[in-house]
C-alpha cells in the first residue's frame, strides 16, 4: 500500500471530465481531496491524498498523465525569502489556502508554511519575487 499527497493540475478542457471517478473505479484507489479550486488561469487544481496498491497507484498516475493532467508532488516546497519580502500583501487574495495572511495588529504578512500546498500562484505575482520554489 502507498499513500501520497500530490497536486493535480487540470487544464480547462478537463475540468468537467469524470477523471477522478474513473480512477476510483478502474484503479481501486482511494481519494482524499484536501483542496480543490479553479485558478485565475481557469486551471483546475486539486490537492489529494491517494491510497492504494503500489501498482494501481503507478497505473493511476499514468492514466492521469495520459489524460493531460499535470502532476506535481508535494515534496517541492515554496518558501519565503524574508529579506526580500516587503510585507505588501498583494499575494494575500491570490493564495488559495490562506497560507499568506495579514496580521491585523502588525499589518505584516504571515506565511504559514504548513498551509502552503506549493501551487506556486504567488511566486510570479510577488513584486520583489520573495516567494521561492525549492526542490
Amino acid at each position: 500500500m502507498v499513500s501520497k499527497r500530490i497536486v493535480l493540475h487540470f487544464p480547462t478542457r478537463l475540468v468537467d471530465q469524470p477523471i477522478v471517478y474513473k480512477l476510483v473505479k478502474e484503479f481501486d484507489l482511494q481519494f482524499n481531496i484536501l483542496k480543490a479550486f479553479v485558478t485565475p488561469q481557469e486551471e483546475g487544481l486539486m490537492v489529494v491524498e491517494l491510497n492504494g496498491k503500489r501498482e494501481n497507484f503507478d497505473k493511476g498516475i499514468e492514466y492521469l498523465q495520459s489524460c493531460g493532467v499535470r502532476i506535481q508532488s508535494l515534496a517541492q516546497d515554496v518558501i519565503r525569502n524574508e529579506d526580500k519580502c516587503t510585507e505588501c500583501g498583494v499575494c494575500v487574495p491570490i493564495c488559495p489556502t490562506e497560507a499568506l495572511v495579514v496580521d491585523p495588529a502588525t499589518r505584516k504578512v504571515i506565511f504559514h508554511n504548513k498551509k502552503c500546498i506549493a501551487c506556486e500562484l504567488c511566486v510570479k505575482i510577488c513584486p520583489p519575487r520573495a516567494m521561492e520554489v525549492h526542490f
Binding site: G89, V90, V92, P93, R107, P128
Partner: protein, 404 residues
C-alpha cells in the same frame, strides 16, 4: 502658534515631541486637537509602494581617452540608460528593460530585471556593468567603453523621481471573465479580488491634504536617506473631488523628489517585477509635518475610515477610459481584508506596505528625536485645490504632412 524655527530649536535642544501619523490619531481622540497641537511638535508620515516614475542620474567621470556618451548608446547591466546629456551624464529610469527582455511576448511577461533593479543594486554597493558606444568627435575620440561601475566611484549618483507619493489611489477590480495583469497586480476575473495602493492614514499627502506644510524644498526621508521635494509631481491633480475633511476621493496630488543615492539603502529602494506589466521601483518616503497650529493636527489625525477611494474596473473602464467608479470604499474597510461590491464579498490585496510605512514613520521620528534631522521651511507651495492646476487627458490631433 509655533514656527518651524522654534521647532528646530527644540530638536537641537533634544526637547522635541514627535509622534507618527498613526499615533496622533489616538492622541487626538484622548486629548482633543487643541491640546495635542500644543504638546506635539512634529507628526511623521510614511509610505512604501511601487512608484514607476522614478529614476536616477549619474556622472560617471571621464575615461581616458575621453568618450562622449551623449547622443550615443549606454546600458547598465544591459538595461538602457538615457544619454541625451553631456559627455558622461546618464539617467536610468525604473521601468527601463533590457533590449532582449521578451516583454509580453510570452504572456504574461515576467519582467525579471530592469532599471529599478539596477538602482537597487547600485544602492547595495554592487558593481554594475556599463557598456557604451559613441560616434566619436575630435575632442571625445573614443567610441566604445565597457567597465564595471560602483556607486562609490561615481561623481554624482542622484535619485530623481518625477512622480511619487500619490495622494490617494484607485482600488482596482476586474469585471471581465479573464484574469488581467496590471500595475495593480493580478486581478482575478469576476471581481475575484480588489487591490489598493496607499498607506492611507500614514500616507504623507493624505495627512496634509491641502499642502499647508509640504512644499518645494521640504526635507524628507527618501529611500532610507535624506531627500527633498523638488516640485509637484507629474500628473499632480489637486482639483479632484474632496470630502468635507479636505481629503481627495481619487488620485490627486503628487511629489517630485530628489536626493543623494549614495546615502540611501537597498531595503528602501526595491526593484519589483509586476507580472504582465513591467518593472517598477518600490520607494520608501517619509515626510515630517511641523505642527504649526490646531488645523495641522486636525488634518494629521484623519483616519483610515475617513479616507475614501474609488473602485475602478481595470478590464474596461481604466484601459478604455470609459465609465466611472463602481463605488467608494474607505481604507478601514479595505484593511479588514474584504469589501462588498455589487452584493459580492471580495478579498482585498495591498501593493503598498503598511507595516513598512509604519517603520519609515518611526525611523524618521527617531532621526528627529536624536537631533539628526531638522525641518525645512518650504521655499514655495505646490499648487493647491483652488489653483486651477489640473490633469488633462491627451487631445490627439492628426499629423498632416505639409505640402512643399
Amino acid at each position: 502658534m509655533k514656527t518651524i524655527k522654534e521647532i528646530n530649536e527644540k530638536i537641537k535642544r533634544g526637547e522635541v515631541v514627535v509622534v507618527t501619523a498613526e499615533e496622533v490619531i489616538d492622541l487626538v481622540e484622548k486629548k482633543g486637537a487643541k491640546r495635542v497641537a500644543q504638546e506635539v511638535d512634529v507628526v511623521t508620515t510614511g509610505t512604501f509602494g511601487p512608484m514607476c516614475s522614478s529614476g536616477a542620474y549619474f556622472n560617471i567621470g571621464h575615461s581616458k581617452p575621453r568618450i562622449k556618451i551623449g547622443g550615443g548608446i549606454c546600458t547598465l547591466n544591459d538595461v538602457p540608460a538615457y544619454t541625451g546629456f553631456a559627455a558622461v551624464d546618464i539617467y536610468i529610469g525604473a521601468t527601463a528593460l533590457p533590449d532582449n527582455d521578451p516583454r509580453n511576448k510570452v504572456y504574461p511577461g515576467e519582467f525579471k530585471y530592469g532599471g529599478a533593479h539596477v538602482i537597487q543594486e547600485l544602492t547595495a554597493g554592487n558593481d554594475v556593468r556599463l557598456e557604451a558606444s559613441a560616434y566619436g568627435t575630435d575632442c571625445y575620440p573614443r567610441k566604445k567603453l565597457a567597465t564595471l561601475l560602483n556607486i562609490k566611484d561615481l561623481n554624482e549618483a542622484v535619485l530623481f523621481n518625477i512622480r511619487n507619493a500619490y495622494q490617494n489611489y484607485n482600488v482596482a477590480v476586474n469585471l471581465s471573465d479573464k484574469p488581467i495583469y496590471t500595475y495593480m497586480g493580478l486581478l482575478k476575473p469576476n471581481l475575484g479580488n480588489a487591490n489598493y495602493c496607499s498607506a492611507g492614514q500614514l500616507s504623507p499627502l493624505l495627512k496634509d491634504p491641502k499642502y499647508r506644510s509640504i512644499g518645494i524644498g521640504t526635507k524628507i526621508f527618501l529611500g532610507g536617506g535624506v531627500g527633498y521635494v523638488a516640485w509637484q509631481g507629474t500628473q499632480h491633480n489637486p482639483s479632484v473631488l474632496r470630502k468635507e475633511n479636505g481629503v481627495p476621493q481619487a488620485p490627486a496630488g503628487t511629489l517630485a523628489v530628489i536626493g543623494d543615492l549614495k546615502q540611501m539603502k537597498p531595503q528602501w529602494l526595491v526593484g519589483a517585477s509586476m507580472l504582465g506589466y513591467g518593472v517598477t521601483l518600490i520607494v520608501g518616503i517619509g515626510v515630517p509635518i511641523p505642527v504649526l497650529d490646531e488645523e495641522t493636527i486636525q488634518y494629521a489625525a484623519i483616519r483610515d475610515k475617513d479616507i475614501y477611494a474609488q473602485v475602478i474596473d481595470y478590464s474596461q473602464n481604466y484601459p478604455q477610459c470609459v465609465g466611472s467608479s463602481l463605488g467608494e470604499v474607505n481604507y478601514a474597510q479595505l484593511k479588514t481584508g474584504k469589501i462588498t461590491l455589487q452584493g459580492k464579498e471580495i478579498p482585498t490585496g495591498s501593493l503598498s506596505s503598511y507595516s513598512k510605512a509604519r517603520e519609515i514613520a518611526e525611523e524618521l521620528k527617531a532621526w528627529i528625536k536624536r537631533g539628526e534631522f531638522t525641518l525645512t521651511e518650504p521655499v514655495e507651495k505646490i499648487p493647491g485645490q483652488e489653483s486651477g492646476y489640473s490633469f488633462k487627458m491627451l487631445k490627439e490631433r492628426p499629423i498632416i504632412e505639409k505640402e512643399v
